[in-house]
Symmetry: C2
């Protein structure tokens, strides 16, 4: 059994004693399995308890989140555990958005003006299986499936499980417990219901839900439409998207209100209405989905929610991580990337000289929470951007200008999308603050006609425009700073 390379080798008071510390992880999804691997690499004794069956042995896909967008922040984490060579072959690059209008016309809108910046469609199941395989290569890592966490006695660092194989109850105590059990986290529920400390908590649902559909592969695994893009049918009140899979299929997701508008999930109850809806709004997509009606009535409709909470940790006993701490809506393609970045940030804190788990958890939450709050808000913004703004003339002008700026001045300009998605060296919060100010600067300069031309600018003109955008961005940030009395 070969041990993967351990990237960080710093010795700290914690890592010195790693082998003596037993860490219990609740949940072996993407975040839990990556964390198990990393903590295993660092030498901790790691026990992982997962509610579901082993996805390497049982097909547990249920028409939900079959594929995901992996980008720089997630890749940084994959590099930390030394797995990029194995993950890269699972990736399908998507260079931009392919916007489909009602008439079936398409427009390509790149994600970046820099050719090396793109996002990757990847299968949740394949990636999770790889991470489980790699974690289990460490003899100090043990993973158990069908162990459902019922609650956590965080004062005694003990989790209570039901073994779903035989319905027996079991308790597990450890030096620390980290819950990576997703948006519906059992440990977070224990924090909330116990009322033993002041626990701030929010769950916010959008009025829209989602349903996964499929464009099946063409002959011999060929793709029925463009493969290297993220397809968007944005219709203001609702939206359809499609991401490619390695087998030639596309996972299609419909985002639609539960109860508002002429067509909504509550009233799409017959084959005829579903076909009428798709014929009216997504004709070109419908043509690729003869299987639509079956998928529509077989697959579940699921809600879209944002969860924030604080504190993430109880003293030095327990910690929430990943979706358990910060579930976000999928519209920035950052859910998995944010959870993977959690592992990178936690790993950094382990490298620092802290003398207790409480100090480690406190330091981690202090640096990390502002960034996960920011990506939660950005993801909701992007819901509105993708549904409708992408079709607005002023939004399109802004993107055209930004692509020219990024192409011509690759070192000097990055759009909000690029700051969030491709600039893993800055945090989400900084990306949000600067990105929003840039958007505001450009949109207002277009409205004021301070910028009158965005196409075919000479390099000199483009440079002048860049200077205007930067100056106005700084002015906006400064005005906000003064108004906030910071």
């Amino acid at each position: 059994m070969t041990q993967p390379t351990i990237t960080h080798t710093n010795n700290t008071s914690q890592s010195n004693q790693a082998s003596k510390q037993h860490i219990l992880l609740i949940g072996a999804g993407l975040c839990g399995s990556l964390l198990a691997l990393r903590l295993g690499q660092r030498g901790y004794k790691v026990t992982v308890m997962e509610m579901r069956p082993d996805l390497r042995k049982v097909d547990i896909s249920a028409g939900r989140s079959i594929n995901l967008a992996l980008s720089n922040r997630g890749i940084k984490a994959i590099n930390l555990v030394g797995l990029w060579d194995k993950v890269k072959p699972l990736c399908i690059p998507m260079n931009g958005r392919m916007l489909h209008d009602t008439a079936g016309n398409t427009t390509f809108a790149p994600y970046s003006g820099r050719d090396h910046e793109y996002i990757n469609s990847i299968s949740r199941g394949m990636l999770n299986a790889l991470l489980l395989d790699e974690a289990e290569k460490h003899e100090n890592v043990s993973i158990y499936f069908n162990r459902k966490c019922d609650s956590v006695d965080f004062e005694n660092t003990t989790a209570h499980f039901t073994n779903l194989d035989n319905q027996e109850q079991l308790n597990q105590t450890a030096n620390i417990i980290i819950a990576t059990d997703g948006a519906g986290s059992a440990m977070r529920q224990s924090y909330f219901l116990s009322r033993k400390f002041l626990f701030s908590f929010s769950q916010e649902y959008l009025t829209h839900g989602y349903k996964e559909l499929t464009i099946l592969p063409g002959k011999n695994g060929s793709y029925k439409t463009d493969k290297n893009v993220l397809h968007i049918w944005g219709r203001e009140a609702f939206m359809l998207i499609a991401l490619p899979n390695l087998d030639g299929s596309f996972t299609v997701t419909l985002f639609l209100s539960y109860n508002e508008g002429e067509y909504n999930f509550n009233n799409l109850t017959t084959k005829e209405r579903v076909l009428a809806f798709f014929t009216a709004y997504f004709k070109d997509a419908l043509d690729l989905m003869p299987n639509l009606v079956d998928d529509f009535f077989t697959n579940p409709t699921a809600p879209l929610g944002t969860v924030k909470c604080a504190p993430w940790h109880y003293k030095g006993n327990t910690l929430l991580m990943g979706d358990a701490a910060h579930a976000i809506v999928p519209f920035y393609g950052q859910g998995m990337n944010a959870s993977f970045e959690d592992v990178v940030e936690f790993d950094k804190v382990l490298d620092a000289e802290h003398d207790s788990w409480e100090a480690i958890f406190t330091a981690y939450e202090k640096t990390r929470k502002k960034d996960t709050d920011a990506i939660a808000d950005l993801a909701i913004d992007n819901f509105y951007e993708m549904k409708g703004h992408v079709n607005h003339p002023n939004f399109r002008e802004k993107r055209t200008l930004e692509m020219a700026l990024e192409k011509t001045f690759p070192e000097a300009y990055a759009s909000k999308y690029s700051l969030v998605t491709f600039n893993e060296t800055i945090g989400y919060r900084e990306a949000m603050m600067r990105g929003r100010a840039q958007d505001k600067a450009i949109l207002n300069m277009l409205a004021d006609q301070t910028i009158t031309k965005v196409n075919n600018l000479s390099d000199t003109e483009l440079k002048e425009t860049l200077q205007k955008v930067n100056a106005e961005t700084e002015a906006i940030l400064e005005d906000d700073r003064i108004a906030g009395l910071k």
Copy 2:
């Protein structure tokens, strides 16, 4: 028995049938008792179930929220039920903030440049008792005490109570149930725990808690310090305030972190430390409180939380109102005012031609929620303003200018504080949007030296300044509008 004048006499499909409709209210605090009175005036059969004993017979003050600030939005509601003549004698006008520095120097900062604009200190107990008395004058209103709501079966419009007099369980069904049971609402908990619909919910705690203290009356019920102001000892990291009572006492509230800083609630555990803290930071207040140490260790420390949720109603069966729907922190003095305004807004919706309770609840939430969300955010802003900003030179310059503008152009200018507190004809959200833009405009023009002088301006100079402030405010609102793509 004399019936109070009914202000609204519009006949609607609902109010036509009011006498046939039975409304169950959970909670007879300020909001519940006012709502009971108003619904009684409208002719509904009203049953109110209150968890606590009757405060007119038992002293249930517990060192928490003894007095409150009543201002225009609350007075509007008192006028709706025709009670202003009885409430006015309970009020002690407060014309502004009296700022106390560490050396004991004081500065008076008026709330408005208009003499008729002030807030009123009023006793929670006296006001609640009056509202209960008036509600009970209606034979169609019945109020029961010691009835604790355990949960609400909102699908069947049935509430489950424990009669605390004999520990018996009882169920109460009605045409509709309105929960006015405060920040810890049992019905809201039933919404949350049932998982029968998508319920967005947030509870956010500040890092600070609060504790009530007292300045006792002087001889013959005299006041030991200025009576017609709200006293503030703002110390950046913590704050003390005092509001007058009719008996010559002041209710004093300490806002302090639970666990941060040299002095905090968790480490103020001895008489010596409490006295050292007050001697260092609140010497002039300490001199008025020989009873400080006793109060400090007798009275509870309570958290400061904000609760938001949506939807407030389940179909046409049940509705949350007042703190049960939107608990806020006390720093804008708007908690009671917002809950009273709920009753005014609900009453308006009852006047409209809606043909079902579901339509009424939906219309009410649609108009009201944006405003209660806004006052929740404004109240948190004011925590930072009161603690520290009131001491900043640029903040003080802004207030000096605003007072001059309000005094000289009473019809043309209203500060954010005035918009929120004294302009009951606009909603909290509009007050927040305009007020924040004005603050930003003035603070930035002071920083840029676009405005260089705020004292002793001639009327001509002041008029020019008003025009600059208004123009910049409009520009800020327009820039935000464009950036939001609205």
